[in-house]
Symmetry: C2
Subunit: 202 residues, 2 copies
């Protein structure tokens, strides 16, 4: 039985990523996503139960793609390589990188996410936490809350913030001087930030 689907989950996810990268999450309306994917709006609901579910899938896909590059070095205690992996990934996938940069917890509201996705997101978070722990272990540091937070900033939040001037959206009109920078500068800042923060581990 059944008719072949013309649109896949990924069609809508990818369309949403592009829209978010350009105009922020607010620009990713269901109508806009459908239009970008060349589909009628109704079709999205055959793939995703709600907009919240779709946006959660977007967030998960981006974070998972990033984690795939970072976890191997991280689990071997190679912090420098992990940060470099982040930068290379962001350079290669600027749209996904912008999704990560623009992500805010309160975008995900609604406890009504599909169970499956919820599990995947938990697993991913767990893997990232394990990666940070591995990093600490390799450096013979305690697995304290402060050390974990420090490592998280050193490896993720710091470098991502450092990439901000490089990850400018396309449509910006008046970009002040201090909001633009080339890849090399951002890379240096991200690495410096990571090293300095990791030196603080106790």
């Amino acid at each position: 039985m059944v008719r072949k689907a013309e649109f896949e989950d990924s069609s809508f996810i990818e369309a949403a990523i592009e829209l978010i990268a350009v105009g922020g999450p607010a620009a990713a309306t269901m109508a806009a996503i459908a239009r970008a994917a060349g589909a009628p709006t109704g079709s999205i609901y055959h793939r995703f139960s709600s907009r919240a579910a779709l946006l959660a899938a977007v967030w998960h896909q981006c974070l998972a793609a990033l984690a795939a590059k970072m976890l191997p070095p991280l689990n071997q205690g190679q912090s420098e390589a992990a940060v470099k992996a982040l930068i290379d990934w962001a350079t290669k996938h600027p749209a996904m990188a912008r999704v990560v940069l623009l992500h805010r917890e309160d975008d995900l509201i609604d406890g009504e996410l599909p169970t499956e996705l919820h599990k995947q997101m938990n697993r991913l978070n767990q893997q990232l936490g394990a990666g940070l722990s591995a990093l600490l272990s390799h450096r013979q540091k305690t697995l304290s809350t402060s050390n974990l937070a420090l490592a998280n900033f050193a490896i993720f939040d710091g470098p991502i913030a450092a990439l901000k001037p490089f990850l400018r959206g396309p449509k910006n009109v008046t970009p002040p001087n201090h909001t633009t920078a080339d890849n090399g500068t951002c890379r240096a800042a991200a690495l410096a930030c990571a090293r300095a923060s990791l030196d603080l581990l106790e």
Copy 2:
């Protein structure tokens, strides 16, 4: 002529700041802001032409408050003191700090902002740019775009990202280990990040 106003601009701005701090910008609906301020929704429109204008005023007020603390040391080339000022300010005004942390350009959309506010925002941006330039000058560095971006990350974006684990909202349910940290840890990370980035100036 005229009746005395019962509500001031600041009533609504402050109510909005609290709401944003707790539930993100999406929680700051006109109805919620009015309720929090103890006013009817309609009254807000006697102070602000639109929600966009109000939110822009919120953003400007928070950034201006922060800048007031940071610009003096910055203009004297005291980068360390500037970052400390940021941390102290965030510690003292967590709600405003969260507004800064959660701020995203695309929240400000709509080119239809009041001229006056637009001017104020331009002036503020200019002052911040001048502060960064002063910092570079004191260190005998060139005023290149990369150096400005680097300084901006060192003084603003980096430290603010470092404070994230300390600036957790109240309502969070399952805060993963690596997302919480005390003030001391965050302070150390912010300062380390700043120092390391400033060392990269050319």
